[in-house]
């Protein structure tokens, strides 16, 4: 999913606000995509993802001015280090409601029954 947007390498996210200001972040890897998109999908007027190894790869047809791109804040938190479920889960849980997660899970799972599989010794 993420690879469609920016490939595997470092990426830049430009979030265009409704008041025509921009928030720009550089991320070490494309997993940081979750930081902007899944959590804030209605918060910004437009969100642009750029591969820093190929900056012309703009998935939304928007080429930011240099001064916007240069204003990027480098994001290096512990969440950007491991490509792990736990780091992703923490971000989801902090920014998506339980109901949204449930709905997402049910839509992706054919099994809407809650699993309980048990074995006794």
């Amino acid at each position: 999913m993420l690879a469609y947007i920016v490939g595997e390498g470092p990426m830049q996210v430009i979030q265009s606000n409704y008041d025509n200001t921009y928030d720009v972040y550089n991320f070490p890897n494309s997993f940081s995509y979750l930081h902007s998109h899944i959590h804030y999908y209605n918060k910004y007027q437009k969100v642009v993802y750029r591969s820093l190894s190929d900056p012309t790869n703009d998935s939304h047809g928007f080429y930011p001015l240099d001064d916007i791109a240069d204003a990027a804040i480098q994001v290096n938190s512990i969440y950007d280090f491991p490509f792990t479920y736990e780091s992703i889960r923490k971000l989801w849980l902090s920014l998506l409601s339980k109901e949204q997660l449930e709905e997402l899970y049910d839509n992706l799972s054919n099994n809407k029954e809650r699993i309980r599989l048990t074995r006794k010794r």
Binding site: F83, I115, T118
Partner: protein
């Protein structure tokens, strides 16, 4: 296996052999299956855990956390709903899914073994476990400090260390992956490095936070490696290596217990 290795969760050829078979099974089969449970029991049986400590294993998506060991019910319960979700939307691939699942499974098995250890031995490690249990009774919102407790740090590091060794030495299919090493570094530095300060001893930190004083027992005689495993006070050289690992995302210290 020796007696000690049935009381502490450690990697062994037998364990790696089962993990390898289980890994190959999970590549093409569903985790919620009778066969999957067979592998789990095969792992638990390796450590010769008596029925009075453990009887029941469940996957339960209604569980409020990812996993739990319940001593009174002699059971381990895992909830991998979020993990399956992450895999289903391709946020993680199948290898990462299996790595995270193995770490979670071994984490809870380690809690079971800690409980057995605490009941059968009376030494520094069992004392730390008991103190940890007492501290837990003093905290109302356990989630905020969950990763600072010695039993949690030990379970985090042991489980991810075993999976890291398994990936590097026994599983050729994901040999080049650095996910497991990053995960181990994440757990080694968890609670030590945060936004505001560097904490040498997580155990001392929660002790002061919850009881208002430092822990008064000296654990100097324990090997330095166990100071990492149980969140005790560490030497400056150890802290430097942990911080280097955090910064470089490469394991800069030997975390292998067999050296001691």
């Amino acid at each position: 296996m020796s007696k000690l290795s049935t009381l502490l969760l450690n990697g062994s050829n037998e364990l790696y052999g089962i993990l390898k078979k289980y890994y190959h099974y999970l590549i093409n089969n569903h985790i919620y299956s009778e066969k999957s449970l067979d592998y789990i029991f095969e792992i638990i049986d390796l450590f010769e855990i008596e029925k009075r400590y453990f009887e029941l294993f469940s996957f339960d998506e209604n569980l409020k956390s990812n996993g739990v060991f319940l001593p009174n019910k002699k059971s381990i319960i895992l909830n991998i709903k979020d993990l399956l979700l992450a895999k289903n939307i391709d946020a993680i691939n199948i290898d990462t899914f299996i790595i995270e699942y193995f770490i979670l499974l071994l984490h809870e098995i380690n809690h079971l073994m800690q409980y057995k250890y605490m009941n059968e031995l009376n030494d520094n490690i069992s004392n730390i476990m008991r103190e940890s249990a007492i501290l837990r009774r003093n905290v109302s919102n356990i989630r905020n400090y969950h990763d600072m407790f010695p039993d949690e740090i030990d379970s985090h590091i042991r489980s991810s260390n075993i999976v890291n060794s398994f990936i590097n030495n026994y599983c050729e299919l994901i040999k080049n992956s650095n996910i497991s090493e990053k995960r181990l570094i994440y757990f080694i530095s968890l609670g030590i490095i945060n936004d505001k300060e560097i904490i040498n001893s997580q155990f001392d930190y929660i002790h002061k936070l919850l009881l208002g004083n430092s822990y008064n027992k000296s654990y100097n005689e324990l090997p330095e490696l166990l100071h990492i495993y149980y969140g005790l006070e560490k030497k400056n050289t150890t802290m430097n290596k942990i911080i280097s690992s955090y910064q470089t995302q490469k394991l800069c210290l030997d975390i292998n217990e067999r050296r001691f």
